[in-house]
């Protein structure tokens, strides 16, 4: 393809993509303009005030840190909890899918624990873990009274995030492994593959799309859990904390800015992972 034609193709691709996005923008635009035009009669702050907050994300707000700082704290908490959920949940789910004995051994406890909201465990985890943060765990006590991200990563908080994320990972992985077509396993067996080889080269790649779906669900859940958890006692940082604190101080401009950020990050998480899944062509493992 010539360079010109290529450029043309890229341009039409871009145009098509933009065009497909346009219908989705109708309702948000409508809502925004309603807010803009009828603002004087509402209890909400003017859109401009919220925009001001959003446009200066590194400014200290309500003396509890900037938007950047608090968003960062929440994100790092989620990332940590999520990685624990993934690292523990994937092998557990995999074994539950691959071995009937292991599934019978663990299914009751997972069925009992799964519907238990992580938020319900927050008070208990504060009692158990107190406000122990990573600073203490890593033995960096001299950092305890400085402003440091490690101080904000409380073990109890990470624990309930891992709790919230681990069950989607376990269940989806288990379903994925159990759903692998029997003929693939039999084919591998008659072609001379041993148990470990089948685990690695058949069961795992065949269930990868489901495992990935589990990760996506886990990310979504963790993001919801962290916001709720930060609004409760046990921390004084994070975007959820900022949301509640701005409410207490009746700073609705900050509150709306927080809500906006939470929504956008949620969108980025779910769409981003979706695109990543397609990029890796994990869908290839699906039956066509």
């Amino acid at each position: 393809m010539s360079r010109l034609a290529l450029r043309k193709k890229v341009r039409t691709d871009l145009r098509q993509r933009v065009q497909s996005l346009l219908p989705g923008l109708v309702i948000p635009t409508l809502l925004l303009s309603l807010w803009f035009f009828f603002n004087s009669r509402s209890i909400l702050p003017a859109p401009g005030a919220v925009l001001d907050v959003l446009l200066d994300p590194s400014a200290d707000l309500l003396s509890c840190g900037s938007l950047f700082w608090n968003t960062g704290v929440s994100l790092i908490r989620v990332l940590l909890g999520l990685s624990i959920a993934i690292m523990l949940g994937t092998p557990i789910g995999f074994l539950m899918g691959a071995s009937n004995r292991f599934r019978h051994f663990t299914s009751l406890i997972t069925e009992l624990a799964r519907p238990l909201s992580p938020i319900a465990l927050l008070p208990l985890s504060i009692i158990i873990f107190k406000d122990t943060s990573f600073t203490e765990v890593l033995g960096l006590n001299h950092l305890k009274y400085s402003r440091n991200i490690l101080n904000e990563l409380q073990i109890g908080m990470i624990f309930i995030l891992a709790w919230g994320g681990i069950f989607p990972v376990i269940l989806e992985t288990m379903h994925g492994v159990r759903g692998v077509r029997k003929v693939y396993i039999e084919a591998a067996r008659v072609l001379g593959a041993g148990r470990m080889f089948i685990f690695k080269h058949v069961l795992f790649p065949a269930s990868l799309p489901d495992i990935f779906a589990g990760y996506r669900m886990a990310v979504g859940r963790c993001w919801m859990v962290i916001i709720a958890a930060e609004m409760l006692p046990g921390t004084n940082s994070g975007i959820g904390y900022m949301l509640r604190y701005s409410y207490q101080l009746s700073r609705l401009d900050v509150m709306l800015a927080c809500i906006f950020i939470i929504a956008v990050i949620g969108l980025v998480f779910s769409r981003g992972l979706e695109l990543l899944g397609e990029k890796w062509l994990l869908l290839r493992a699906r039956e066509r």
Binding site: V183, Y184, E186, A187, A188, R189, V190, L191, G192, A193, G194, F197, H201, V202, P205, A206, L208, R284, A285, R286, E287, R288
Partner: protein, 248 residues
């Protein structure tokens, strides 16, 4: 690899608790290098027999004497791994036995060349036609240079022309590699075209009703009178079998 069954029997238990006898007793001896077709109507237990030989299922009673050696297996619908490209699919049995990567690739390329898929080695199964997929499955079954190749209706889902091409290819490859072959099919013409020997199975329970070595010469001509004669004689056996199963 030579193979012998002695009084092989197999039953399944239905969900109702009743037990169904699907096989046997079956006595059969296959000589080294022989190309045997197991021919029979659907549900006569020929696939079960194949699965017992390969070790995917156990017989209830009786004995199988199987010589030592490598096994190749080709499934009805290919059962190619959709997440692997053609080359990786073909390399799978080699890697499973712990062969080094570069040697695996060399062997895979060699066999892919033989089945005419060398240019497609980086494609994925869903990107190929049904015939090409089955050729890949053949290559995967043959890549280890097996002493015994088991095929379960490998060409049943293909159109006639493609099927005939693949039959020829299979026959040539097996002669070249002097593999013992057990080929399961319900297609009489396919059986007569391919085999040194045809074993016709009847059902309820699966048993051998006719066992005959073919004296047809190579290359076989589907339009010759001797070919048609043999074909007709097997068709007759088949018709009788089906009549029997309807009246019973």
């Amino acid at each position: 690899m030579s193979l012998a069954f002695i009084k092989l029997e197999k039953s399944y238990s239905a969900p109702s608790g009743k037990s169904f006898k699907v096989l046997g007793p079956i006595d059969l001896t296959v000589k080294n290098g022989e190309f045997v077709c197991l021919l029979g109507p659907t549900g006569c237990g020929k696939t079960t027999l194949l699965r017992i030989i390969s070790g995917l299922e156990q017989a209830d009673s009786g004995k199988i004497n199987r010589g030592a050696g490598r096994l190749g297996y080709v499934f009805q619908q290919g059962a190619l791994f959709p997440w692997m490209n053609i080359e990786s699919n073909v390399m799978f049995p080699l890697k499973a036995t712990g062969m080094a990567g570069s040697l695996c690739r060399l062997k895979a390329e060699e066999i892919l060349d033989l089945v005419g898929l060398y240019e497609f080695r980086k494609s994925f199964p869903h990107e190929l036609s049904g015939g090409m997929q089955q050729r890949t499955a053949l290559a995967r079954g043959l890549v280890t240079g097996p002493d015994l190749l088991l095929l379960d209706e490998p060409f049943a889902s293909l159109d006639t022309r493609t099927g005939i091409n693949l039959q020829e290819m299979l026959r040539n490859l097996c002669r070249k590699l002097s593999t013992t072959v057990i080929f399961v099919t319900h297609n009489i013409e396919e059986a007569v075209y391919l085999s040194d020997r045809i074993v016709v199975m009847g059902h309820r329970p699966g048993r051998i009703v006719r066992d005959e070595s073919l004296s047809l010469e190579w290359p076989r001509n589907r339009l010759s009178s001797t070919f048609t004669e043999v074909l007709l004689s097997f068709r007759q056996t088949f018709e009788e079998l089906v009549d029997l199963s309807i009246s019973s």
